[in-house]
Subunit: 337 residues, 2 copies
């Protein structure tokens, strides 16, 4: 009754061939005559038979599984990226093994357990995760092909954006609209990294100001932690400086949502008296009319998945892909009144 017990031998016997032929047929490998192959496949279908993944894996050394390590999936970036990754992996017949790092402790655990995690997978995708710095290059450390998305990693392929350029463009959008006092709500620095996303975006902000001959005013810089709540708070601070900004660049859409709310609370009409631009193109941005810089995270995830697969199969793919971040101008930015 236990259908699970039927093995490749049963199929071979039923088809009157050797297990080798069954194995070849079922894996689309050459070396089996067309009619033989058809017969084998038909019989396997009839028996509802499929190769036992663990056994195949043990015998072949391949796992047909890709590992994905990422911070908290409850968060926008990683969960969207995961979606993209999954869609191409599923199509390629690969399984997806997850390693989630919500806390710093999880991160340490990952570094500790990375080797054993890697034994279960043919390749690794690191989402928004910095993992090097050990001197070892990533591929060497993990002993598997690695592709990073959202970060550059030594010795690994990567899919990322040009954070500095993209935020420069965001601020230039405000400048083009005639704004001259432009504030910024910053994202948190992450200790693991030498030059973090936040730092790069800060430079882009300054590039734009400098490029337009505007002065850089430290009172127009408010630190956020990425959350809506911090966006509310940061924007409130910016609105209460002696000479408040007429345009604000938020390093994430979530903080921009908070910023918008703060403006509303303060009775400052957007975009009439204040323009706000975010960064991400979060799912909610369109509905809220938020102007932003679009990070096509799911596409980045898909590309990452295609890249690991190529690496696994030995095809050398592009190794450092920089994704474009188009401006999406919606209703929260307008010419300075």
């Amino acid at each position: 009754m236990d259908e699970g017990r039927i093995t490749i031998d049963d199929i071979a016997a039923a088809a009157g061939v050797s297990v080798a032929s069954v194995s070849r047929s079922l894996r689309d490998l050459p070396g089996v005559g067309p009619q033989t192959r058809k017969r084998i496949i038909d019989i396997a279908d009839e028996f509802g038979y499929e190769l036992h993944p663990q056994a195949s894996s043990l015998a072949s050394g391949r796992t047909s599984t890709v590992g994905v390590a990422a911070p908290l999936f409850g968060t926008w970036f990683p969960s969207r990226a995961l979606g993209g990754v999954h869609s191409v992996l599923a199509e390629a017949g690969y399984d997806l093994l997850i390693f989630m790092m919500s806390t710093p402790a999880d991160r340490r655990r990952f570094l500790r357990e990375a080797r054993s995690f890697c034994r279960r997978v043919d390749g690794l995708i690191l989402i928004d995760t910095f993992a090097g710095a050990d001197g070892d290059s990533a591929d060497a450390f993990f002993n598997r092909p690695v592709v990073a998305v959202g970060e550059r990693l030594d010795g690994a392929a990567s899919i990322a954006i040009d954070n500095r350029l993209a935020s420069r463009r965001a601020v230039e959008h405000l400048i083009d609209l005639g704004h001259e006092r432009i504030g910024v709500i910053t994202a948190p620095e992450r200790a693991e990294m030498s030059m973090s996303t936040s730092g790069l975006r800060r430079l882009g902000y300054e590039d734009a100001l400098r490029g337009a001959g505007l002065t850089i005013d430290p009172t127009l810089v408010a630190a956020g932690d990425g959350s809506i709540a911090s966006g509310i708070e940061a924007m409130s601070r910016l609105l209460s400086v002696p000479e408040p900004p007429t345009g604000v660049f938020c390093m994430s859409d979530e903080m921009a949502f908070g910023a918008l709310r703060a403006a509303q609370n303060a009775g400052v009409p957007v975009p009439d008296a204040l323009s706000v631009i975010g960064f991400d193109d979060h799912d909610f941005a369109a509905a809220l009319g938020l102007s932003t810089m679009r990070q096509s995270v799911d596409e980045m995830g898909m590309t990452a998945a295609r890249t690991v697969l190529a690496l696994i199969e030995g095809t050398e793919p592009a190794s450092e892909i920089t994704w474009d971040v188009p401006l999406v101008a919606r209703q929260t930015t307008a010419a300075r009144g």
Copy 2:
């Protein structure tokens, strides 16, 4: 140089014991003297050795992996639930294999590939996924212990909320505040299910009205699709009926966010002229001050994970857990002006 090639035999040889003792020691199984065990473990550590998962799995028939099938992880409920599931699985030393169903086509693929997916896992968690209806009970169909979260499933353990009761409570909150014309923005029905979440919540809404002796007015029911955009649209419709509601229950927080925005656009002050209550306690709800019904999705996920583990290990756990959904009154609901 390839460290991967070191096997249990090498450890056994180095420790001067049999492979059986090594296996037992490394898996904390009884039958090894304390000093022997310590020596073996020390040597394994020194060699950086770990059991080969596929080989163990093949030999033992266990995979130490739990499968999770869920709709789009970009979405709030499933990605939060996944977080909870992962945290307990990680602690128990189980891997997490993902099956994502973004589209109806994916769903069909899942039903088709379910058996083979199940061969890779010891147990299955279905998040927000209806999978039965084939006459087969879930456990029998998947041939593995199954626990459903967010849905009841025939022949499977489940972690879910009482949708009808919870939405009744939400509407009663509005009633308690003195509201008499209470609208509802509904979530989409899902074809797969006989009595969907949306339908149950609708009944709860009517229960509350009826319980308070209020009339049920169909013009106060607006259909949404779960998105912010649909919330905006639905609320606009509700605000333009001849006698608009003074309180609105939204079947999801996301739609409530839209509803709030529509109210703002229409110049209707919340909560002064209009109370709005959502459902979920989405991450953004607190920051936006939205009153809502809290679904502790991560805890539900953790419980689901503990339940599969118990099932896998043969410990019979509770089979139908109903999770409490407390009211979280914040700033969008107030006594009728």
